[in-house]
Symmetry: C2
């Protein structure tokens, strides 16, 4: 007779270890977004592609490090990745996956064991949670967290560097701040090039092809206060958009907000 | 019979050593601004005060490092300062000095040997030339240099931290840039905290009490292009303004643009 371990029956929290969060996702107990779980550890965007497309996508990431900052690339077919964590299953440890076929979203599923193939290569890309933790620790406002919303994201006119058969335009996330806070936020996020790094733009949204800030292309609109500037960072939604635009035959990604929680401390990504 | 040395008869250039520039100033051959001379070496703002006021001014600099970044403080009465350079005379090596009495500019002179006193303490403060060299090396625009003008400077509503009997408001210099260049300029100038460091504001000038950018309080107006943001840095004119506002009985400073050229390489002030 076995007694259930306490952490098998409860949902993970900010104080859970990354392995506990991954186990909860693997066992189907966690199907929710991962924001705030295992606080202080790096969460990753996932992109999973068959090897021929993966080889091109790796060149694309190398050419576009701000939207696609590489944390790790798996060997073909591998479901583990030692640099991201031990006790880790790439096919089950994300709370929700998206499956794309012919460039279109086909299904959102809790694991991709049934889809797994020996030629699949997994890309783990840094995510804005890492720099948002650093902004909060610096006492800077993160409006969508204050307002309990998703970060607003916008398609822009900023071209990506075409490479490996992929191309398109940058998607950005936006956080409004007063000018002095924006200057400090540039300093803070510059320390985290593997989590999108410094902003790509600030001020007038029309300069980067955003017509209406109140209508984000993804996520939720947030309020912009008197005297605040919108500050724009490269966003991890960019690669999903690029994969769809390329009409790739088959791809798996995490579902937005449902990230892979790694064993890497946020501080390990800091340049200094 | 002595033959004049070649560098005694010509004006110093970008390729001169700092000691050659100082010697030209000392001998009265150089009475012009020092911008561009002995390129790659730190130039300094000077403030010279009797010891009682100097003790308070040192506390003021410590409390306001962005406008008053301390490079060196001399011993009372000393006319040399080893950390700034060898073969250096604080009373003669600046091409033009300003003498203030009772908070008012009394004279602009080529040396202050006649004014020298045993209780005078000299403050050398970092200057924007250092970060402008870094901006240029990063390929960023420095508009007033492009346009052959003095940098535009503005009195602001940003209060200084009162200390040592001194108080007032920040004076800023302004360089217009496109947003992406402004972000890069923040990164570049963050490396130089001893040369005013990162900007204090960008965007809407009225937020910091500047009513009309076309009418700078010091220096010359420069053109601001379509899609450019004004970017504002703390300025070394601030301490001169503060000394005048305090009505100090006696003070000497450099004359704007006529700096002390030190033996310190610009790169030595870089954080990393």
């Amino acid at each position: 007779m076995t007694t259930p371990r306490p952490d098998d029956s409860i949902l993970p929290t900010a104080h859970s270890s990354p392995a506990e969060v991954r186990r909860a996702a693997r066992e189907g107990r966690l199907q929710a977004p991962t924001a705030g779980l295992a606080y202080g550890f790096v969460q990753a965007n996932l992109v999973i592609l068959p090897e021929p497309q993966a080889n091109g996508f790796l060149r694309f990431c190398q050419a576009n490090p701000k939207p696609c900052p590489l944390l790790a690339v798996s060997e073909p077919g591998a479901r583990s990745c030692a640099t991201l964590g031990s006790d880790l299953d790439l096919a089950r440890d994300v709370p929700a996956y998206r499956v794309f076929r012919e460039g279109r979203l086909q299904a959102t599923v809790s694991d991709v064991e049934a889809e797994w193939r020996d030629d699949l290569v997994t890309f783990a890309l840094g995510c804005s949670f890492t720099f948002e933790h650093a902004l909060q620790q610096a006492g800077l406002p993160v409006r969508h967290i204050e307002e309990g919303r998703n970060v607003p994201m916008y398609r822009t006119s900023i071209p990506l560097v075409p490479a490996g058969g992929f191309a398109g335009h940058l998607v950005v996330s936006m956080r409004p701040m007063k000018a002095a806070d924006a200057i400090r936020a540039i300093q803070v996020t510059t320390r985290f090039p593997q989590a999108h790094g410094a902003p790509v733009h600030l001020g007038d949204p029309s300069r980067i092809g955003i017509a209406d800030m109140r209508s984000p292309d993804y996520g939720d609109a947030v309020s912009v206060g008197e005297g605040e500037l919108p500050v724009f960072w490269a966003c991890g939604v960019t690669p999903q958009q690029v994969l769809m635009d390329a009409g790739v035959e088959f791809a798996i990604t995490h579902s937005p907000g449902h990230m892979l929680v790694t064993d890497i401390p946020d501080s390990e990504l800091a340049l200094l």
